[in-house]
Symmetry: C2
Subunit: 236 residues, 2 copies
């Protein structure tokens, strides 16, 4: 929107590069020590400078968190936009709600568990006094609107039942995604997306969602939630 189109001089380019370097190190440290474990001293140490020098680029530690918050949402937003499916409308006729939502959920949850530092910062409130600024919050709102518009589009296409409001469906949907991410990061932070105890529950959870909010006529009768794979002997 208000992005500067005037060419940046060397001074400003170098400055932005340094800022990005600071943020890169910050994300790395947060991934290792936890979001609240981030320290300016450690950033400076890894960059080969002294802590006070960081104040040239960020007026406070909270400002740094703010930049990280904004960058995290922007990256996640970019990942979801890159996925893009419904907007292209190619799937309109053939695909079913369950498949569309599962693909969307997989992209979202995969990004979250593979970026645990960002995920904690974006979805929880781990930093004592920190509240994101309105500017930093903007891409979060943008992603919310993106998901909402997607659901509304699916409703227009007849894949989501028409007798519920999209915001209503969106609310339940975000609960599902945030539940998977929270449970996985809190209880199995070292498990991969493909083998996680909770990420692997996505097909069932999305099916649960699609059974409720999909169009009854179009939703297939797949009521069985992947019953007892690798059945035990004591299970009859």
């Amino acid at each position: 929107m208000t992005t500067e189109t005037v060419p940046l001089d060397r001074r400003q380019r170098r400055r932005l590069e340094t800022i990005e370097e600071v943020l890169d190190h910050a994300v790395e440290i947060m991934a290792e020590e936890g979001v609240a474990g981030l320290s300016l001293g450690e950033i400076a140490r890894r960059m080969g400078i002294r802590p006070p020098s960081l104040y040239v680029y960020f007026p406070s530690k909270h400002a740094l968190y703010d930049a990280l918050f904004a960058r995290g949402w922007r990256e996640l937003l970019a990942a979801m936009r890159a996925h893009d499916d419904v907007a292209q409308s190619e799937q309109a006729g053939g695909a079913e709600l369950n498949d569309l939502m599962l693909r969307y959920a997989r992209v979202f949850v995969r990004w979250a568990v593979e970026h645990p530092a960002y995920a904690q910062l974006l979805f929880w409130r781990p930093v004592p006094g920190f509240r994101p600024s309105d500017e930093a919050y903007a891409p979060a709102v943008e992603l919310y609107d993106f998901g909402l518009a997607r659901l509304a589009r699916l409703q227009e296409l007849g894949l989501v039942r028409p007798d519920v409001e999209a915001v209503h469906v969106q609310r339940d949907w975000t609960v599902l995604l945030s539940g998977v991410v929270s449970q996985q990061l809190a209880n199995g932070p070292d498990e991969s997306f493909d083998t996680g105890r909770f990420t692997t529950a996505l097909p069932d959870l999305v099916a649960m969602f699609a059974d409720r909010y999909g169009q009854p006529t179009r939703t297939r009768a797949s009521r069985k939630p992947t019953p007892s794979r690798r059945g035990h002997a004591d299970q009859r």
Copy 2:
């Protein structure tokens, strides 16, 4: 289990009381400043003592977090046991799965949002180097087993479909609950349980759950997810 039955002398009684007082102040401070914002100095200040005196009762700050972690799970476990419904089996014949699970969910989520400090400590990982000890984790396991046994009982009673494993259902159930708690605490920490943007979604979410895992024959045909209450003018 291993609770000491030998009567405690005054010395030990006083010591335990002091420990409880420390924990009370700690919970209060965490609620105000966030879990990672807890400081021994602030606890000592509010108790009218000096910080080093706290080391008489807790060998480190992590030990204090450990005690808080254990106490939080014990309190939540007690709240869920006090609720108690299926164990008493009075509801066996009359009640439906949706109602039983909704009541259970309401007790759980209400406790979590009304004890945000505990909730953050128990469900997230906000403290950089802290990992709960096995002893502190025990009541968490106990609550998990409690919920699992409850689901198994509901399965025996014919309220939960028999073709899925209880652990499977339990996993999806915890995702639902943790999703509501996470979303509510992260996005509306100051909203009450009764008016929260996400806590009020519980009926729909539990219905979604019950539709999938309840016995088809017994689950009523309540497929409509409370459509558009307080309809707007622009909504036709």
